[in-house]
């Protein structure tokens, strides 16, 4: 499903929604947020064009990856503003270092590796500034452009609980889980993105899965009716 996930499948169905900013939001089942117009082989061509300074190619890459980047960054940082900063910095880093990128390798893990690194650096800076804290509650979502279709599926507070559970994971489990579950990278691609071994990724995923399960089970009240999956 990954990599080819340009269509919209699964229970969430197709979700097109125009927000107040007027930007088209394309949600996909794989969560990668890849623009339907960008195919895998085209992606390689775009990267090559970028390497030769083609700004329009870079623009296409940005537009193809920005949604996925913003959502991943949001989950990693827990803050909407921070997510935008992180995603923006990640794209700048990509453009800066694209000349040295080996086009024989997959672009996607490389990109999300950079994004994860930017998010880590952001959180590290945040820790040195204690006045700015994680904001995982729905209070932080004032003015957010929320998909009403999905909103019907999982309410705001429930999504906040998932993010709280994700935040409670801690590093490096949070990043590993986001890359695997949200960005739909394969285990070996996560390993490439994070610069660690495949076994390490599997171990982290196992831990993340266990902790998420425990955290979400604790938050769940008896008689819960709104299960996300059965």
């Amino acid at each position: 499903m990954r990599g080819e996930g340009l269509g919209v499948r699964g229970s969430s169905g197709t979700a097109n929604q125009t927000c107040s900013s007027g930007i088209v939001w394309i949600a996909t089942e794989d969560g990668g947020g890849r623009d339907a117009a960008v195919q895998a082989d085209e992606e390689q061509a775009l990267v090559l064009a970028c390497q030769h300074g083609d700004l329009s190619a870079y623009e296409r890459l940005v537009r193809a990856y920005q949604d996925a980047a913003l959502r991943s960054a949001f989950l990693l940082t827990g803050n909407r503003q921070a997510a935008e900063d992180v995603a923006q910095n990640a794209f700048l880093q990509v453009f800066r270092h694209l000349a040295r990128f080996d086009t024989e390798r997959a672009f996607r893990p490389w990109f999300f590796g950079i994004l994860a690194n930017e998010a880590r650096q952001h959180l590290r800076r945040q820790r040195r500034q204690p006045t700015v804290a994680w904001s995982l509650s729905s209070d932080a979502l004032d003015g957010a452009c929320v998909d009403p279709l999905l909103d019907g599926l999982i309410r705001n507070d429930e999504r906040a609980q998932v993010r709280a559970a994700l935040a409670a994971l801690g590093e490096p489990f949070r990043t590993t889980a986001v890359l695997y579950y949200v960005n739909n990278l394969a285990v070996d691609e996560v390993a490439t993105a994070l610069g660690c071994r495949v076994g390490t990724v599997k171990s982290r995923l196992h831990t993340a899965r266990k902790r998420l399960r425990a955290a979400l089970a604790t938050q769940a009240a008896p008689g819960a009716s709104n299960q996300i999956a059965g």
């Binding site: 949600a27 700004l55 913003l70 935008e84 923006q88 452009c145 429930e158 998932v162 819960a224 996300i228």
Partner: protein, 816 residues
């Protein structure tokens, strides 16, 4: 409510289902993420970066595969270059430093006792002034290749016999390690026969100490005996006899013994013996013989006897008293070469042949002209520097390739920097030099440097003894600091002093400057230590010598090592570069006027100037170090009083930034050395004398009319022609108006009946009587016998019977 737990699935399906649920949950949690178009924000930065991308070199390798190949190629080239450099580095180390030892920071000095007719050696640890006697009856030791062992040859006389003993010392602790007797010869004081002397020399390898010795006899050719001793214990291991095998000849003079590298890791022992004609005590026809032995068995590998001279002058005799090159392949020595130049003569150690000499033209033009010189080798032993300070020229020789690299003119060396002139010689000096010049010219070669020049550990600075005068009349004059990157003199230390030996501490921080001082009975060494980074005096001490004894030589262990192995030892802990040297401001004193009458006021000024430009320093000036002194004083001393001068210091006060001034009343008649000394808060001080020379004070004679009268000299012709008679006239004139002594006025102490005029020049002395030819006017014939400047000294006895003598002026002799 979230509930991730589902009814327990089958064992295989459970993780996949849980992953599915987690994926959906996280995905929905991300729906609250901001939705923004980042491109408008990224575009400006991307556009700016795109303007410089791709980097130009990537244009030539557009694909990543090509870049990989290019990077691999560049990496391989870099690796190969690093490997080659490392190989060359280690090869060089193997050839030079791998076997280079370390030596302690110790200075050695030898003294000779005239009564005991014996030399002794003492040590002074650098940085201290403590003298430790080491051994009597010996001279400078031979140092081992690792620098840890000092081997002395001790000779003592007892019960009519000479006892020669080999004594080994630890160079670090200066504690004796072992001693072995090597010769015991009868001594007949009346005939000094049959054994005139046991001549010996020492060479040291990693595990042996070799001694080559023979009994020198005028009428008998004795074999040379080589004995190998265990280096650690001194036990005798092997003995070989060497017959020089030259009919009608005998060993004469010192022999040379060298451990040299041969093929592979093998070593050879080379013996070079100088021979003389049997029965002739003075060896006027020396011939050298060469022997090479395989080590450790002593098998004779090669013999060349006699060694043939090169067809090119100058010849190379007494080869065994030469220095080896660092690679152990050659012996070399600096010889004089006509016309008035220098040459390096080489002896090839593996083949035993003299190589054509390397001529170094140092501006000489006259045959047999004496050119004083100093020499030093670079720390790696590859470069020889020969410096002729009187000509300011320095020859650079590539020793391994036996090639003259260049001859450079050292800027400011011959001319001298400000404040560097030597004061005019005293009366005693002039008389002595004049007499010496008349008698024997060889004795007048005053430029006798025992110590070599010194190269700083970082190879940046060359410390050389400066000289004034020329040829045989050259006189040492302070120390030059030469920048080896620009070949310029950047500073001059101890101007006016006559050093004869230099040594450098191992770290290059202290320069030891030695000067002999003789009171006619004993000769002491005046040793000064200078901080090379600041040029400040660190200490100054007199190395003691008992009555009847002479300090004869002065050397650091590093110098001994260089002499023996052709290169510098390693400094413990690695070569320590000397501190960066910023030349301090030079002191330029001046006195105005330079010739006055007793009682006149004279002004003394000291200017601190940039040694490069000669300009007075300015506040905050870069490239020159100037710390305002706490006090600046001047003294006026008769030169012959030297350090014993008791003159009251004249305080100079700051007139402007870097300029100090003071005045005083000219003392009684005479010639006075003006010395300005600046003192700093840390106790350091520096002195300088005016480049214009000493202050000449004419005596003023009081007239009956209360006017002051001085004696004015004139000659007819004004510049006498050499070897032609001229008239010298001396007239009493008014000191203020220059008018002659009036007929009706006499001097308070009476007019002398006649005057004695003594004339001095480097070529000799001459005396004449000037008869009275009028009221206060005296004249007489003179004949100058060289076209030089002659100083006229007038003497007479006044009415009170007091002898009055003073330098009254000069006459310039001109050639026909």
């Amino acid at each position: 409510m979230l509930h991730l737990r589902s009814p327990r699935p089958t064992q295989a399906a459970a993780p996949a289902q849980e992953d599915q649920r987690l994926r959906a949950a996280l995905h929905s949690a991300s729906l609250d993420a901001p939705r923004a178009d980042l491109w408008p924000r990224l575009q400006p930065a991307a556009r700016q970066q795109a303007a410089t991308r791709p980097r130009w070199w990537w244009r030539f390798v557009p694909t990543w595969q090509a870049r990989r190949v290019a990077l691999a190629f560049v990496s391989l080239v870099l690796i190969a270059a690093i490997a080659a450099s490392a190989w060359e580095f280690f090869r060089m180390r193997a050839a030079t430093l791998a076997t280079t030892g370390t030596v302690p920071d110790t200075l050695l000095l030898t003294t000779y006792d005239q009564h005991a007719q014996s030399s002794s050696v003492a040590a002074m640890h650098a940085g201290t002034q403590q003298i430790t006697p080491i051994l009597d009856g010996t001279n400078m030791p031979v140092i081992s290749p690792d620098g840890k062992l000092l081997v002395f040859t001790e000779t003592t006389k007892d019960n009519g016999r000479w006892h020669t003993t080999l004594v080994a010392y630890n160079s670090a602790t200066l504690a004796p390690l072992w001693r072995v007797p090597v010769d015991d010869s009868p001594y007949n004081a009346s005939t000094n026969s049959p054994y005139l002397a046991f001549m010996s020399t020492v060479a040291i390898s990693s595990n042996r100490v070799y001694l080559a010795g023979y009994h020198y006899q005028v009428d008998k050719a004795e074999p040379i005996v080589i004995t190998a001793y265990d280096r650690a214990s001194g036990q005798k291991r092997e003995t070989w006899q060497v017959d020089v095998g030259l009919p009608g000849r005998m060993p004469s003079g010192n022999v040379g013994l060298y451990v040299t590298p041969s093929s592979g890791s093998n070593q050879s022992l080379v013996l070079i013996a100088t021979t003389g004609v049997l029965g002739q005590q003075n060896n006027m026809q020396p011939q050298d013989a060469y022997f090479r032995f395989h080590l450790p068995d002593g098998k004779l590998e090669a013999r060349v006897a006699p060694v043939a001279q090169s067809s090119t002058q100058p010849p190379f005799y007494y080869i065994g008293q030469s220095q080896p090159t660092a690679d152990g392949q050659s012996l070399y020595r600096v010889n004089y070469a006509n016309p008035g130049n220098l040459a390096v003569v080489f002896f090839d150690l593996p083949t035993g042949t003299i190589q054509p000499p390397l001529l170094a033209p140092l501006g000489g033009a006259t045959a047999n002209d004496y050119v004083p010189y100093e020499q030093a080798v670079s720390n790696d032993g590859r470069t020889l520097y020969m410096f002729a300070p009187t000509r300011g020229q320095l020859a650079i020789v590539d020793l391994p390739n036996r090639r003259l690299v260049q001859v450079v003119q050292i800027a400011n060396a011959a001319q001298g920097t400000p404040g560097a002139s030597r004061p005019a010689p005293s009366l005693l000096e002039r008389v002595w030099h004049g007499l010496r010049g008349l008698v024997v010219r060889e004795a007048a070669a005053k430029f006798d440097f025992q110590g070599a020049m010194q190269v700083s550990p970082d190879g940046h600075w060359l410390y050389a003894i400066s000289a004034t005068g020329a040829s045989y009349e050259a006189t040492a004059n302070g120390v030059l600091v030469i920048d080896m990157t620009t070949w310029r003199v950047v500073d001059r230390w101890l101007p006016g002093q006559e050093p004869n030996a230099l040594a450098l501490s191992n770290d290059g921080k202290h320069l030891y400057v030695n000067s002999w001082q003789s009171d006619g009975n004993s000769q002491t060494a005046r040793l000064r230590a200078i901080d090379t980074s600041s040029s400040a005096s660190v200490f100054e001490t007199t190395l003691p010598a008992a009555a009847g004894s002479y300090v004869t030589s002065f050397s650091s262990l590093a110098d001994l090592y260089r002499d023996r192995y052709g290169r510098s030892p390693r400094t413990p802990g690695g070569q320590t570069a000397a501190q960066p040297f910023i030349p301090p401001a030079a002191i330029v004193p001046s006195v105005n006027p330079t010739a006055v009458t007793a009682g006149d006021r004279v002004t003394i000024e000291a200017r601190f100037v940039d040694p490069q430009s000669g300009n007075v320093v300015t506040p905050g000036q870069q490239g020159v170090r100037y710390d305002a002194p706490t006090s600046v004083t001047a003294t006026l001393c008769p030169p012959e009083q030297g350090n014993g001068c008791q003159s009251t210091p004249i305080t100079l006060t700051q007139a402007t930034y870097g300029v100090y001034r003071g005045d005083t009343t000219a003392p009684d008649a005479g010639v006075f050395t003006v010395q300005v000394t600046a003192h700093w808060a840390d106790g350091s001080y520096r002195s300088a004398v005016p480049p214009s020379g000493p202050l000449t004070v004419q005596p003023a004679f009081k007239g009956m009319d209360n006017h002051r009268y001085i004696l004015k000299l004139s000659a007819d012709p004004a510049q006498p022609v050499v070897n032609q008679e001229a008239t010298l006239r001396a007239t009493f004139v008014d000191a203020d108006t220059g008018a002659p002594l009036p007929e009706n006025v006499s001097l308070v102490d009476g007019l002398p009946a006649e005057l004695e005029a003594d004339l001095f020049a480097p070529a000799g002395v001459s005396g004449r009587t000037l008869k009275s030819v009028g009221h206060g006017v005296y004249q007489g014939p003179v004949k100058l016998f060289s076209a030089q400047t002659w100083t006229v000294r007038i003497s007479f006895t006044d009415a009170n019977g007091k002898l009055i003598t003073f330098a009254s002026g000069t006459l310039q002799g001109v050639a026909k």
